[in-house]
C-alpha cells in the first residue's frame, strides 16, 4: 500500500513539475488564499481580543444581563439614534448577583444603570457679570474696573458680530444695536461709580440676553457600584483627582472625552493640528489643517475675556515679543499669533500652553467642581442633581480614544435619582416635605371623607401645621452626598455587567448565566451585542472579511477546477493507458486528487509560512489605528496582531478543502476515460 501511495505522490509531484507554469499559477493562487485566510483570521482574532480588552475590561464586561422585557436592545456606548433607550429594569440586583456568582467562570459582577444627563455651564457674559456683582458687593474697586473693562470687551465683540449679521441679513435688531452702543458708552460706565447697582441691573436685563447662550453639554453616565467597579475593571486609571471614595456620590469623566469634546475651542484646534503634525502632516500641504487654524483664530476673541484681567498685560507683552510688535490690543495680536506655519507652530503651541492656557480654564469644569446634572427621568419629569467631579480617568492603552472614555462613571445612587428612582434620601426629603405641608396618606375609600367629611382632627391638624412652612428650606440635601455602600450592591439597576475569568469559554458561560438569570426575567448578551455599534463593528468587520475570503475561495475553486479539467483532458491518453494496463477507476481518482492535494498542501504550507512571517513582522511594528473607532477595535493606537496554531491549521485545511473540492469534477471526468482510448492514443 505504501508503494502505491509513494507512486501516487510521485505521479502527483512529477506531474506538477512537468506543468510548472500551471502549477505555479494555481499553487500561487492557493498560497495567496492560505496567506489571506491565516492572516485575516489572526488579525480578526487579535482585533476581537483587543476590542474585548478595550471594551470588556474597561466598562462592558464579557456578559451584560438585562430585562427580557426591554423594548430596545442594550447599547452601552450608544446605539443608532438619540435618546435614552428603554432597556427594562432590574428591580433587585441582589438575587441577580447571587445567581451569577454561582456560575464557575465568573470573575466579577457589577450593577449598572445608564442615564444621559445635560450639564449647563454659564456663558462668558453671565460669568463676568456675576463676578462683577460680587466685586461690587465686596467693594473691590480694582477688580470692578478690570471686570467692567471685560464687559466692554465682550460688548465690543458682540457689536462686531451684530454688525456682521446685519450686513448679511437685514434682520430687525430688536434694539440690540442701541443696547450695545450704550454698553460701550463712557456715560454708562461713569454710572458704575455713582450707582453701580442700577448699572448692573441694566446690564443684567438688557445686555446679558444678547450674550451667547451658556454652554450645554451631555454626559452619558453609567451608574454603578463604584467600589465593585474598581475591583473588577482594572484598566481604568485616574489621571487627575482621585477615585470616588466609598459611600460617596461623585462622577468620573473620561480624559479623551474632555479633550476632544469639551475643551476650550482654541486649545482643542491647536491640539488637533499638533497631533497631525506629529504624524508627519504639514500645515502648508493640508487644507484641513489650515481650516482648523482659521477656526482657532475665529475662536480667539474669547481668550481676551477668559484671561484674568490682571494677567492681560503680561500675556500681551509676551505675545507682542513673539511677534516682534509693540504691545497693544490683545485681540488682533492673538489673531496674528495664531497665524502660524510649519516653522513656528511647535514653538507657539508650547507658548500658548505656557503663557495663555495656564491662565484660563480650559474645561467647563475642573476636578473638585460640583456640576449640575439634569436628566429626564423615566416618568418624564426633569430632575437635577449636584454631583462632585472627583476625577478624570483614562482607559489604559486607549488614552487617546474618546469613544473608549465617552462614558462618565458615577455612583448607583446618583443614577437612581436621575432615573427617577426613589432613594432613601429622597424618601426622607419627601417625608419632611409631607410633614411640612401637612399632606397625609389617604386611602381611596376614605378620600371623600378626608376631603369633605367631618372628622375634626383634619382641620385642627391643618391649622397646626401651616406655620411650619419654613422647614422646607432646611431639608438637609447635604446628607445625600454620602450613602451606605451596601445600598450600591443591592436594589435597583438597569443592567448587570459580568467579567469572566476565562474569556475563551465565554459562549458556554453566557449560556450558563442565561439559564441562571432566566427565572428572574432577565437575559444575558455578549459584549459585542451589549456595547452597541462599536462592539458590533467587530462582528461586521469579521463578517465582511470572512465573506471576502469566501468569495476569493469560490473564485479560486472555479479557476482551479478549470485548469484541472484542462490538465485532465490533456492526459486522457495517459489515463486510458493506465486503465488499459489494469488501473482501477479509484486509482485514477486517487491520482488526480493526490496531485491537487499535494499542490494544496505545498501551497498551504508556503502561504501559511508567509503569513507567519508577515504576522511576526506586524506584531513588532504594529498596525496603526488612524481613526478613533479603530483605536477601540485595536485596543490602543496600534494593533499588534498575534498568530495562534488554530489560525494556521484553519488556513491550511481551508486550502486543502478548496483544492479537493475543485478536483471533484475533473476527477469524475478522469474516471470516465475509457481504456479503449489508449488504443487510439497518439503521443
Amino acid at each position: 500500500m505504501t508503494a502505491v501511495i509513494k507512486l501516487l505522490l510521485q505521479l502527483g509531484v512529477q506531474s506538477l513539475l512537468a506543468h510548472r507554469t500551471k502549477s505555479l499559477i494555481v499553487g500561487g493562487l492557493l498560497a495567496f488564499g492560505t496567506f489571506l485566510v491565516v492572516t485575516s483570521l489572526a488579525v480578526l482574532d487579535s482585533v476581537t481580543r483587543a476590542t474585548r480588552a478595550s471594551l470588556v475590561e474597561s466598562i462592558a464586561g464579557d456578559v451584560q444581563i438585562y430585562s427580557k422585557d426591554a423594548k430596545d436592545s442594550l447599547a452601552l456606548l450608544g446605539g443608532i439614534g438619540f435618546g435614552t433607550e428603554d432597556i427594562g429594569e432590574i428591580d433587585s440586583y441582589g438575587p441577580v448577583r447571587d445567581a451569577v456568582l454561582k456560575v464557575d467562570n465568573v470573575a466579577g459582577v457589577v450593577p449598572m444603570g445608564i442615564a444621559n444627563a445635560a450639564v449647563a455651564s454659564p456663558g462668558d457674559l453671565d460669568r463676568t457679570l456675576n463676578a462683577l456683582r460680587e466685586a461690587v458687593k465686596g467693594n473691590d474697586a480694582a477688580n470692578v474696573m478690570l471686570l467692567a473693562d471685560r464687559v466692554r470687551t465682550i460688548a465690543r465683540v458682540l457689536q462686531d458680530q451684530q454688525q456682521k449679521q446685519a450686513a448679511v441679513a437685514a434682520s430687525e435688531n430688536n434694539g440690540a444695536g442701541e443696547v450695545l452702543a450704550r454698553a460701550l458708552s463712557d456715560e454708562l460706565w461713569a454710572g458704575m461709580t455713582t450707582d453701580p447697582l442700577a448699572t448692573l441691573d441694566w446690564l443684567d436685563t438688557k445686555l446679558a440676553p444678547l450674550g451667547e447662550q451658556g454652554n450645554q453639554f451631555y454626559l452619558r453616565l453609567v451608574g454603578t457600584d463604584l467600589d465593585g467597579f474598581k475591583q473588577t475593571f482594572k484598566r481604568i486609571k485616574i489621571v487627575d483627582g482621585e477615585y470616588v471614595p466609598s459611600g460617596t456620590r461623585g462622577v468620573l469623566v473620561g480624559q479623551a472625552f474632555l479633550d476632544r469634546r469639551l475643551k476650550f475651542a482654541v486649545a482643542m484646534h491647536l491640539d488637533t493640528i499638533h497631533n497631525e503634525l506629529v504624524k508627519g502632516q504639514t500645515i502648508a500641504a493640508n487644507k484641513t489643517l489650515q481650516d482648523t487654524l482659521a477656526k482657532a483664530r475665529r475662536a480667539s476673541p474669547r481668550l481676551v475675556y477668559m484671561l484674568p484681567p490682571k494677567d492681560l498685560p503680561v500675556v500681551t507683552a509676551s505675545i507682542a515679543a513673539e511677534l516682534g510688535k509693540p504691545p497693544g490690543e490683545l485681540a488682533p495680536l492673538l489673531v496674528d499669533f495664531l497665524t502660524m506655519d510649519d516653522t513656528n507652530f511647535e514653538r507657539r503651541y508650547q507658548m500658548f500652553y505656557d503663557v495663555i492656557a495656564a491662565r484660563v480654564q480650559l474645561y467647563p469644569f475642573q476636578v473638585g467642581d460640583t456640576i449640575t446634572l439634569t436628566s429626564f427621568t423615566k416618568s418624564g419629569y426633569l430632575r437635577s442633581i449636584n454631583v462632585k467631579v472627583w476625577g478624570i480617568y483614562v482607559i489604559e492603552g486607549l488614552e487617546s480614544s474618546d469613544i473608549a472614555s465617552a462614558l462618565s462613571i458615577t455612583d448607583l445612587m446618583t443614577f437612581r435619582e436621575l432615573y427617577g428612582r426613589r432613594t432613601a434620601a429622597l424618601d426622607a426629603e419627601l417625608v419632611k416635605m409631607k410633614a411640612a405641608s401637612g399632606a397625609k396618606e389617604v386611602n381611596r375609600e376614605d378620600a371623600e371623607a378626608a376631603l369633605f367629611g367631618g372628622s375634626d382632627a383634619v382641620e385642627v391638624q391643618a391649622v397646626a401645621e401651616s406655620a411650619a412652612e419654613v422647614v422646607l428650606d432646611k431639608v438637609d440635601r447635604q446628607e445625600s452626598f454620602t450613602f451606605d455602600p451596601k445600598d450600591a450592591n443591592e436594589g435597583f439597576a438597569l443592567t448587570t455587567a459580568v467579567l469572566l475569568k476565562d474569556p475563551d469559554k465565554a459562549r458556554a458561560t453566557q449560556r450558563e448565566i442565561s439559564a441562571a438569570v432566566a427565572p428572574l426575567g432577565l437575559q444575558a448578551v455578549n459584549w459585542q451585542t451589549a456595547t452597541g455599534i462599536v462592539g458590533q463593528l467587530t462582528m461586521v468587520v469579521s463578517g465582511v472579511l470572512l465573506g471576502a475570503i469566501f468569495i476569493l475561495f469560490l473564485v479560486t475553486t472555479v479557476i482551479l477546477n478549470n485548469s484541472l479539467v484542462m490538465a485532465t483532458l490533456e492526459r486522457v491518453a495517459e489515463i486510458g493507458t493506465l486503465r488499459a494496463i489494469g488501473a482501477q477507476k479509484r486509482f485514477v481518482n486517487a491520482m488526480i486528487t493526490f496531485e491537487t492535494a499535494t499542490l494544496g498542501a505545498l501551497a498551504g504550507v508556503v502561504g501559511a509560512l508567509t503569513s507567519v512571517l508577515f504576522i511576526t513582522w506586524l506584531s513588532k511594528v504594529g498596525i496603526p489605528a488612524p481613526a478613533d473607532v479603530l483605536q477601540v477595535l485595536f485596543g490602543g493606537p496600534r494593533l499588534y496582531p498575534t498568530l495562534t496554531a488554530s489560525n494556521v491549521v484553519a488556513g491550511v485545511v481551508a486550502t486543502l478543502i478548496v483544492g479537493v473540492f475543485a478536483t471533484l469534477y475533473p476527477a469524475r471526468l478522469a474516471m470516465r476515460v475509457q481504456p479503449v482510448v489508449a488504443m487510439q492514443g497518439k503521443e
Binding site: 508503494a3 502505491v4 510521485q10 491518453a573 488499459a580 482501477q584 481504456p675 492514443g681
Partner: protein
C-alpha cells in the same frame, strides 16, 4: 471449458453513429491458443482494432461472447474487466504510451504495483531482469523522453511482459518506427514468444510483421476473410492498400 486463452463466438459489434448504428464486426468466431504468434491484418476501417479491443477486454461485444479465462467479458463489471486485463493481458501500443513523468523502471513496475502481489524487492528484481531481457539494463533510471522510439517500445514490451501475461496484444507496434528498428522489435517479440512461450497477437498493416507471424487473420468489412497459419508474401498488402484507399 475449452483450453483456449481467448475465444470469440458469434461476436457482433455495433457502434452508434448519430441516430443509426454502424456494424463494425459481423459475427466473428475466433480462438487463440498458448504460444501463438498471430497477426490480424486488414485495411483501416476493416474492424481489426475493434477486434483487438474486444480481445483485449477494453471493450465488450454487442452480441455474441468473448471468453477470456473461461469468463464472458460482456457479463463482467468494469472493475472485473480491469482486473482481468491486469492479470491476464499485456498491451503494446502504437505510440508506446509510457507515463512520461516516471522512469523506465517505474513504468515497467507499474502493473506489478497495481497487482499488489509482490514485495518491493521482488518487484525490483523482476523489473531489472525484464529490462535486461529487452536490452535496456543500462537505462533503468532514464525517463522515456530520453530514449529513442525503439528504446521506448522496448520499455513498453517490458511493461507488457513483466506480469507474465497469458496474452500480449500489440496494436501496430512498429507503425511509429523505422524499418530497421521495427524489425529488431519484432525479432525481440518473436524471441520472447519462443523462449518464454508468451502468446502474441498483433494488429498490423506491415508485411514484414505478417511475414514473421505464425498465423495471419485477415479481416475485411468486419468479417474474417482468411485465417491462415504461416506467413504469406506481400501481394495481399497491395490489395490491403487499395482497400484502405477505397475506404
Amino acid at each position: 471449458m475449452s483450453g483456449h486463452i481467448v475465444e470469440l463466438r458469434g461476436v457482433i459489434k455495433d457502434y452508434p453513429l448519430g441516430k443509426v448504428s454502424v456494424r463494425a464486426l459481423h459475427g466473428i468466431d475466433l480462438s487463440f491458443d498458448r504460444g501463438e504468434f498471430a497477426s490480424i491484418a486488414g485495411p483501416s476501417g476493416s474492424g481489426k482494432t475493434t477486434l483487438l479491443n474486444l480481445i483485449g477486454c477494453v471493450d465488450v461485444p454487442s452480441e455474441g461472447t468473448v471468453l477470456m479465462n473461461g469468463r464472458s467479458t460482456g457479463e463482467l463489471s468494469d472493475r472485473e474487466l480491469t482486473e482481468l486485463r491486469l492479470f491476464n493481458l499485456g498491451f503494446i501500443f502504437q505510440s508506446f504510451n509510457l507515463v512520461p513523468v516516471l522512469t523506465v523502471a517505474q513504468n515497467v513496475e507499474l502493473p506489478l504495483l497495481l497487482q499488489h502481489k509482490m514485495t518491493g524487492s521482488e518487484r525490483h528484481a523482476q523489473v531489472v531482469a525484464m529490462l535486461e531481457r529487452v536490452g535496456l539494463g543500462k537505462y533503468v533510471n532514464h525517463r522515456p523522453t530520453e530514449l529513442s522510439g525503439g528504446q521506448r517500445q522496448r520499455v513498453a514490451i517490458a511493461r507488457a511482459l513483466v506480469t507474465k501475461p497469458k496474452l500480449v496484444l500489440a496494436d501496430e507496434p512498429t507503425a511509429n518506427l523505422d524499418s530497421v528498428t521495427g524489425n529488431s522489435i519484432l525479432q525481440l517479440m518473436r524471441e520472447l514468444n519462443q523462449t518464454e512461450g508468451t502468446t502474441f497477437l498483433f494488429s498490423t498493416h506491415d508485411a514484414a510483421v505478417m511475414k514473421l507471424a505464425s498465423r495471419v487473420i485477415r479481416v475485411h468489412d468486419g468479417r474474417i476473410v482468411d485465417d491462415g497459419h504461416g506467413a504469406r508474401p506481400s501481394a495481399d498488402t497491395n490489395a490491403d492498400r487499395a482497400a484502405a484507399a477505397h475506404a
